[in-house]
Each structure stands twice: as C-alpha cells, then as structure tokens.
Symmetry: D2
C-alpha cells in the first residue's frame, strides 16, 4: 500500500457506490451457492455450469470496476498533489495486470 | 444445449474433479464473504479490496478450467462420433468468448 | 504438437477461412504501421495510441477465433476416433490460457 | 479526447519509452508477416498458428502497458490540478474495458 496520509487511504467509496458493491457481492454469493447446488446434481450439463461461472466472473468484474473508478477519482487524480504518484502508479499497474 | 443423447449431457466430472470444484467454490464463497466484511469497514484501502476481487476471479477461472477440461475430454473429443459436432463447437466458441 | 498422423496435422483451414485470415492479417500489419507512424509524431495523445493498440488486439483475437473454430471442427471433435485425445486436450487448454 | 490544454495532450512518452515502443512494434510487424507466411503453407498445424497469434497479442499488450504507465504518470496523476479529472477518468475506464 502506498505510504499515504492515513486519511487518504480510506476506501473513499461514496455511500451509493459502496451500497451497490455490497448488494452485488451478496447476489454473487447467492450465485456461487447456486453453482454449488448445480455441481451436486449428476444430471447437469458442464457447459451450463461454465456459463454460471462466467456470469459470476462478469458480476465480480463489474463490482471491481466500480471500486476502480472511485479509486481513480479520489486517489489517483490527486496523487501528484500528495506526492505519492510513483507508488500509486506502480500499485495501479499491478492491479491492472491480467484484468 | 446441444441436442445430445441425454446420457451424454450429464456433467461427466469424474468424482475427484467434482469434489475439487465444490471445495474451491466453498472457499470462493468464504472469500466473497470476506470482501463483504471488508466493504463494511470505512478504513479499508480500495486497492486492497480490488486485490481480493481479483483473487476470487482467479479462483473462479481455475474452477472453470477444471470443468472445461472435463468437457473437452468427455464431450468434445467424441462429438464427431455422436454426430453433434456443429452444436458442440458453436457452444464451446460461445463459452470461450471474453475468457 | 500432438503426435498425430501427419495427414491430420495439416492446418485444415478451408479456403474461405484461410483467405479471410490472411486478409485480416494484412490489414493488421497496415494498422501496426499506422501506430508506428503515430508514435513518431510528438502531438499524439497517448489514449489515442492505446485505442489503436486495443483495436489491433481485437482484430488479432478475431483471426485467432477463426483458426480455433476450424481446429475444433477438424481436429478436436475427431480426436477420440484418432486416439490422441489426451494430447489434443492438453494442447488446447494451454492455448486457451489467458485468452 | 479530454478537453485538455493542448500542451498536455502531447504523447508525453519519454524518449526511452517511445523508442522501446517503436522497436517493439517493428518486431510485432515482422511477427505478423511471419504468421502470414505460415498461413500460406498448407502443412502448418493450426495450434502453431494460434501460438504465434497469442505471442503477438502478448507483445502488443506489453507495448500498451508502457504507454498506459506513461499516461498515468504524466496525465492522470495531475488531472485534479488541471481540472479535467472527470474526462480523464471516463476515458481511462473506457480504454481499460476488456483489457
């Protein structure tokens, strides 16, 4: 984690984005439970299970995008003013690998 | 779903792969709960949350790979003999989009 | 490469797909040259260069999909009959990593 | 393109990165020509062609990463000071889709 002023390291998700992220993750958890049930039945077709896993991956990616957008808006665009641009850019390039 | 002989449409995951897939999904569910807890605290750094989401995505992708490998081994390599190769190939290309 | 009967290892791209793949690659080459010219000018905006690289990546992925579909149709769905399913599946899973 | 002060919209690739990006693109162009030659021969195995396309995709992605890192360092971390953070963030989220 970039050695930032502690105040700036808070997850500055504005309330609407945070609530949205949490409700998406709750439905993702429900979706994972659905795949678990699916894998207990021996009459499911593997491509149907693959489609469910792909859908969960997509929902997770959207949740990540919301948090990434907030991070860009609140931490990255102000990094030069704070003086931690090197660390913030390095951290961001790392998280963006294999997105 | 390909109009296959019903017997072939079962998720032919051999027991070891199926158990492995289920235990991975149980740990993925636990991991999602961890991110939910993380997002309740207002002192978490957004990049830490992004790393957790990325880790869950990776674990889901591995679970999907296991099921895909089984599907290739049991359904795809025998499709020509069954006569449903067109449907099996179309279905597979669809599931592989944006992997 | 799977130890296949030499006859089956030919790139069984039917003529239409092969011509299409070659014309796409020729336009991709032209597109790469365009980015090279872009990077010589010092008035280009980096996001414009990134968009061009992304477009080339997309065109390459489409060309790859065409060849993959042909490989599935001609080599993979008949692998069990030939007896090289293990090698064909291993090779396919390798090529699909980080798609 | 973000309505930036024209001076800031130049591709601020420092000379070393720009030269590196251009030499990578020249070798990518050569690599694409190699795949074109490969697709003329009818004895090539499709998976070999797919591996070459994947390698070119990887080289393009690395070139893009170099330009992205420079954009983050020179344009994004200073966006708040310039006052165009909204446009810069929107543009960045767009370019990062399906990376």
């Amino acid at each position: 984690m970039a050695d930032l002023d502690p105040q700036e390291t808070r997850l500055v998700l504005d309330p609407a984005v945070r609530d949205d992220a949490r409700s998406r993750l709750r439905s993702i958890r429900g979706h994972v439970e659905g795949i678990l049930r699916m894998l207990e039945r021996d009459d499911v077709y593997c491509v149907d299970a693959l489609k469910q896993i792909k859908a969960v991956n997509g929902a997770l990616a959207k949740t990540g995008d919301m948090i990434l957008r907030c991070h860009l808006k609140h931490h990255v665009v102000t990094a030069h003013e704070r003086g931690d641009d090197e660390a913030i850019v390095a951290e961001l390039m790392d998280i963006l690998k294999y997105r």
